[in-house]
């Protein structure tokens, strides 16, 4: 089995609780529940409101509303946005691909770049070059990604005109899309890399003191081959955990970078929804992001069990 029953159960419970939270929040927040559920853009006569109340089931008891809520989730009814005049789920699906197009390459590149450079940094002597790399990654680590976005946007697009200044349109060719995505992906992957770099470096520093390293040398291994044949796999275990834990943080970072680059993804969607207090869209985004985060953790667990044989056994 790939995942222990306990782990799987925890995922389900997490999903259940976070979704329930999403049900509770608009109903307990100060303000008119109708507004909280439909958004500030919704203005209607008293009669329509009464009709809608019935349609939304707000006249029923909370427990019935709760049941309806779950029924809606399973049938992908996430409500209607009066700001965009569209079903929430279709807006999100339309926007999501741009967020994913930014996020996944960044996570992948960041993982490869960060673990590789971090491993070498922990393994090699701490000379000036090594220290300088660490300082540089630490500086990226300490920056809000959107701020890096602003600087890059200013330098590369505004000053030098190398990359487009404003968002892109879906009619764009592949090359066009790539040109628009280049800077955001560069920023997000460097940011992700900086986090992986620091963890991998620390992890290698600890692993290289272990006895199996001495034994590997006793068998005749030499130089970097010790790092890559023995230490790397052990040291990457904490990084895999981190990538999963970090997924939500990176996702949030990507949302902000999107806003800076006016990309047409979920980040800008959330921003617009926030400005117009379009609550259904905010809630819908929250649900979808939750599912993405849980899926990422699930995936990381499986990856972990492939790398660490001890986990598979326990499962």
């Amino acid at each position: 089995m790939l995942l222990s029953k306990k782990k799987a159960l925890r995922y389900l419970i997490a999903l259940f609780i976070i979704f329930t939270l999403n049900f509770i929040i608009p109903r307990t927040m100060p303000g008119d529940p109708i507004t909280n559920l439909l958004g500030e853009n919704f203005i209607a006569s008293e009669a329509t409101i009464q009709e809608l109340k019935i349609e939304l089931g707000l006249d029923k008891s909370l427990s019935f509303q709760y049941l309806d809520y779950w029924k809606d989730i399973f049938t992908l009814h996430l409500g209607y946005s009066y700001h965009f005049n569209q079903k929430v789920i279709s807006i999100i699906f339309m926007r999501m691909k741009w967020t994913l197009a930014l996020l996944f390459p960044s996570i992948l590149l960041g993982a490869i770049l960060g673990t590789l450079l971090g491993a070498l940094s922990g393994w090699k002597k701490n000379n000036l070059g090594n220290k300088a790399t660490t300082w540089a990654f630490l500086a990226v680590y300490s920056s809000p990604p959107y701020f890096l976005g602003i600087i890059f946007l200013y330098v590369f697009s505004f000053k030098w005109g190398l990359f487009p200044f404003k968002g892109f349109y879906e009619t764009g060719t592949f090359l066009d899309v790539l040109q628009h995505l280049f800077l955001p992906i560069l920023i997000m992957s460097t940011f992700a890399a900086s986090r992986n770099y620091m963890i991998m470096r620390g992890s290698v520093l600890i692993e290289k003191e272990k006895l199996y390293v001495v034994y590997a040398r006793a068998k005749g291994l030499y130089g970097n081959s010790i790092l890559f044949r023995h230490i790397f796999k052990n040291a990457s275990l904490p990084v895999i955990t981190l990538i999963a834990l970090d997924f939500g943080f990176l996702l949030s970072g990507a949302l902000f970078v999107e806003i800076v680059f006016s990309m047409n993804g979920m980040g800008t969607l959330i921003y617009e929804a926030l400005l117009s207090r379009d609550y259904p869209v905010l809630q819908g985004c929250f649900l979808i992001i939750t599912i993405m985060v849980i899926a990422a953790n699930f995936f990381a667990d499986i990856l972990y069990s492939f790398i660490d044989p001890r986990v598979k056994e326990k499962a």
């Binding site: 272990k210 006895l211 199996y212 001495v214 034994y215 590997a216 040398r217 006793a218 068998k219 005749g220 291994l221 030499y222 130089g223 081959s225 044949r229 023995h230 796999k233 052990n234 275990l237 790398i307 660490d308 044989p309 001890r310 056994e313």
Partner: protein
């Protein structure tokens, strides 16, 4: 002919503010196809000698002296050339198999590594070689063992795997560091049998490190007794057990269960500030006045070397 010669080896560990003198002027020879037992209580510096030979000590170790193998001083050889000798000419069975094996790789992976690194064998070929070897060592179910991970094995199994790995490249010298430690009688016998087997496979020489005198007696041709970083006596094994000369050797034999379990009085000496003169004098039943003043030299008596004023 001497295959390996250790001359006046001194190892000091820098652990600020202190210095641990783990090995304090050790001279040893190992002959072709000979098994030398290195015995002494825990902490006297046995492992340090083993690791110095392959230059595997941590960076805080300061190593002096000479270790001559095939006209080369191993202490001066460039790291890369030394790496080619490690595992291939001189192999090591490490003291702590549970920690020496890498937890995330299968036994097969770790066993075939020397073949892949030194001989550049292809993986399937290497696996086959490893399997054959395990079979020769009477492993039950070699294919399963190859596929297993360290955490799935008992301590004894891991020890035997390490012995197996030590011999995959038919080395000239096998250094076995406490291979019988912590094993029950049955496993101990099995490991000793296995060591004899691997020794015979290539007529290798062996340095057998142990604090188990009986195991040393069973397996070795010659024995060297260590105390606080020094060798106090070295002799042919049979003669040694017939008549130990050094007072420490005598006390050591007296402390064996079958000779009445008499413990050696006093405590092990500090390795940071060892006693002046002969290091054993504070615990010695035969000590003379000069023992606390002057460190004795090796004297060849009755065809063996002893470091004690009684024989000078």
């Amino acid at each position: 002919m001497d295959l390996l010669v250790i001359e006046n080896l001194k190892v000091t560990f820098q652990t600020p503010p202190e210095q641990v003198r783990a090995v304090d002027g050790v001279t040893l020879e190992l002959k072709q196809a000979e098994t030398l037992a290195l015995v002494g209580e825990t902490g006297c510096g046995k492992s340090t000698i083993a690791l110095s030979i392959l230059r595997l000590l941590p960076e805080n170790a300061d190593v002096r002296g000479k270790i001559i193998y095939r006209n080369n001083d191993l202490l001066l050889l460039p790291e890369k050339e030394l790496a080619q000798l490690r595992g291939k000419d001189i192999s090591l069975v490490m003291q702590n198999p549970a920690l020496a094996l890498n937890p995330v790789y299968s036994i097969g992976h770790q066993m075939t590594e020397p073949l892949i690194v030194h001989r550049r064998l292809k993986k399937p070929k290497a696996i086959q070689t490893a399997k054959n070897l395990l079979e020769k060592l009477h492993f039950k179910g070699p294919s399963n063992a190859i596929r297993a991970y360290p955490f799935e094995m008992s301590g004894g199994m891991k020890q035997r795997v390490l012995i197996g790995i030590s011999v995959v490249l038919s080395p000239k010298i096998i250094i076995a560091d406490e291979p019988t430690k912590g094993l029950d009688d049955r496993l101990r016998e099995m490991v000793l049998k296995e060591l004899r087997l691997v020794r015979e496979m290539n007529r290798s020489s062996m340095i057998f490190i142990s604090h188990d005198l009986n195991a040393a007696r069973e397996i070795s041709d010659r024995i060297a007794v260590m105390y606080a970083g020094e060798i106090l006596e070295s002799a042919a094994t049979q003669e040694f057990f017939k008549e130990p000369l050094h007072p420490y050797s005598q006390a050591l034999l007296e402390s064996l269960p079958e000779r009445g379990f008499k413990p050696i009085p006093g405590v092990s000496p500090s390795m940071i500030q060892p006693p002046r003169g002969c290091k054993f004098h504070p615990r010695c039943p035969d000590k003379k006045e000069m023992c606390s003043k002057q460190r004795p030299d090796f004297k060849r008596t009755k065809n063996r070397d002893v470091k004690c004023v009684l024989y000078s």
